[in-house]
């Protein structure tokens, strides 16, 4: 079997669906492939997003949102906590989504814009002529299918292959991926108003524990640890320990595991006829692990650039350069900065973390965003944060 279109998008996560929607809105014939039979399921996410950035891109439907949070609370290893409020807390908090519904909602928007959505359809390679891709080969419900298209957008998540097929090395080093486990917990001890973050080398080496509220006394409680400090099964083992201590009577309603890239921007996200988007392009924020919004932002740009390239007839890497330039200027700089912070923070001892959080205890950080808070941290702890001074000016 074979078919033809202008753009094939591989993967119907937030990145792929936004790319497909933007390309379809610009008048292209789009196929959106998803290997799973149900879009959005199983989830591999803590589901926290910033309200403002989300609302700039889509109109959030009420059924996408599990809860709205008041702010963020951060715990040092010694138990000291500080509070940052949502409008000052930056991008990570705001809504906690129901991603099974959200991901499906975005795919629906792509479909309504005209994209052809194909579930249980897995890309297994690029079609190539003289080394140049012109579509994908796929398995659709167990049957081979060739889809010819001048442009392939790889939005195939942490397990991405599209880049590697096109000669872009997206392999993650163990130090550049967080391995995560999460339980949906119901317990009277759950704070259902705040997103909580717990730091400490014992509870989450090279990462953190989170608790993101999803309803009354209900939260996504999970953790990520740096791959280079993990061993087989470690994420799940540490999570069980944390839950036993913090929610001894908690009941677990769902289990989620996953890998979250934290490599910072990679060298190239384009090849002839190919663009990578979202986790596939490793566009996740290395410090927070947030990647929903960046995937959507990059997806929109990729869809728009695809339309221009198709109409100009130049789908070579050079012709797709606008994608590379635009995402790097819109989100790439922030990701690069976050990577430097992450590389620094993963080296801190528990004493360092206690000192940093403790130093904020007497400060009024209420009106500050993340950047402002880091500036205060630097003023109070110049020696500890000396390496970061170029980032904090």
């Amino acid at each position: 079997m074979s078919m033809k279109c202008d753009v094939v998008v591989v993967g119907a996560g937030p990145g792929g669906s936004m790319a497909a929607k933007a390309a379809a809105q610009a008048g292209l014939r789009v196929a959106l492939l998803e290997k799973r039979q149900e879009i959005g399921d199983p989830v591999r996410c803590a589901e926290g997003v910033g309200k403002r950035v989300l609302s700039r891109m889509v109109k959030p439907e009420p059924e996408w949102i599990a809860s709205e949070v008041k702010g963020a609370r951060i715990y040092a290893p010694d138990g000291t906590s500080i509070v940052m409020s949502e409008d000052r807390g930056g991008a990570e908090v705001g809504y906690v989504l129901e991603r099974k519904v959200f991901d499906r909602g975005l795919a629906m928007e792509a479909a309504r814009a005209g994209a052809r959505v194909m579930v249980k359809t897995r890309a297994i390679g690029l079609l190539k002529k003289d080394g140049v891709p012109f579509g994908v080969s796929a398995m659709r419900i167990g049957e081979p299918l060739e889809i010819e298209a001048p442009i392939v957008i790889g939005a195939d998540g942490v397990e991405s292959k599209v880049g590697r097929w096109a000669g872009i090395d997206t392999t993650l080093k163990l130090k550049d991926i967080e391995t995560c486990a999460q339980f949906l917990v119901t317990d009277t001890r759950v704070d259902d108003q705040y997103c909580e973050f717990f730091l400490g080398n014992d509870i989450a080496p090279g990462g953190y524990v989170w608790s993101f509220p999803k309803g009354e006394k209900l939260a996504n409680v999970g953790l990520g640890i740096l791959g280079s400090r993990s061993k087989p099964g470690e994420a799940t083992r540490l999570l069980k320990e944390f839950v036993k201590v913090h929610f001894p009577n908690g009941k677990v309603l769902e289990m989620v595991v996953g890998g979250d890239p934290c490599s910072g921007p990679i060298e190239s996200t384009t090849a002839d006829g190919v663009m990578l988007v979202g986790d596939a392009a490793r566009q996740t924020d290395p410090l927070t692990g947030g990647g929903i919004l960046t995937a959507m932002q990059a997806g929109i740009i990729a869809g728009e650039v695809a339309a221009k390239a198709i109409s100009s007839g130049d789908v070579s890497r050079e012709g797709l350069k606008e994608y590379e330039d635009r995402w790097r200027s819109d989100i790439g700089k922030g990701l690069a900065r976050s990577y430097e912070f992450k590389e620094f923070f993963v080296k801190l001892t528990d004493e360092d973390l206690n000192q940093l959080i403790g130093s904020l205890k007497r400060e009024d950080i209420a009106k500050m965003d993340l950047r402002g808070m880091l500036r205060v941290l630097f003023r109070l702890n110049p020696r500890l944060l000396w390496e970061l001074r170029h980032l904090v000016v």
Partner: protein, 56 residues
């Protein structure tokens, strides 16, 4: 040989992203290991549930 404990695996795809030889594939709900596997063990470290093991 690299073994996948299918009863443990939660099909998250993390192992696929770190394999230097592109030997793993996540097919919906199971992991396939190809002949390109060099038994380096990198993927076993990342697995959140400990489903992967290099056995002699």
């Amino acid at each position: 040989m690299l073994t996948v404990n299918r009863y443990k695996c939660c099909y998250c795809g993390a192992c696929v992203g770190v394999c230097p030889t592109c030997a793993l594939e996540l097919v919906e709900t199971f992991i396939e290991v190809s002949a390109d596997c060099k038994e380096c063990g990198i993927c076993t470290k990342i697995c959140p549930v400990g489903a992967l093991e290099v056995k002699a």
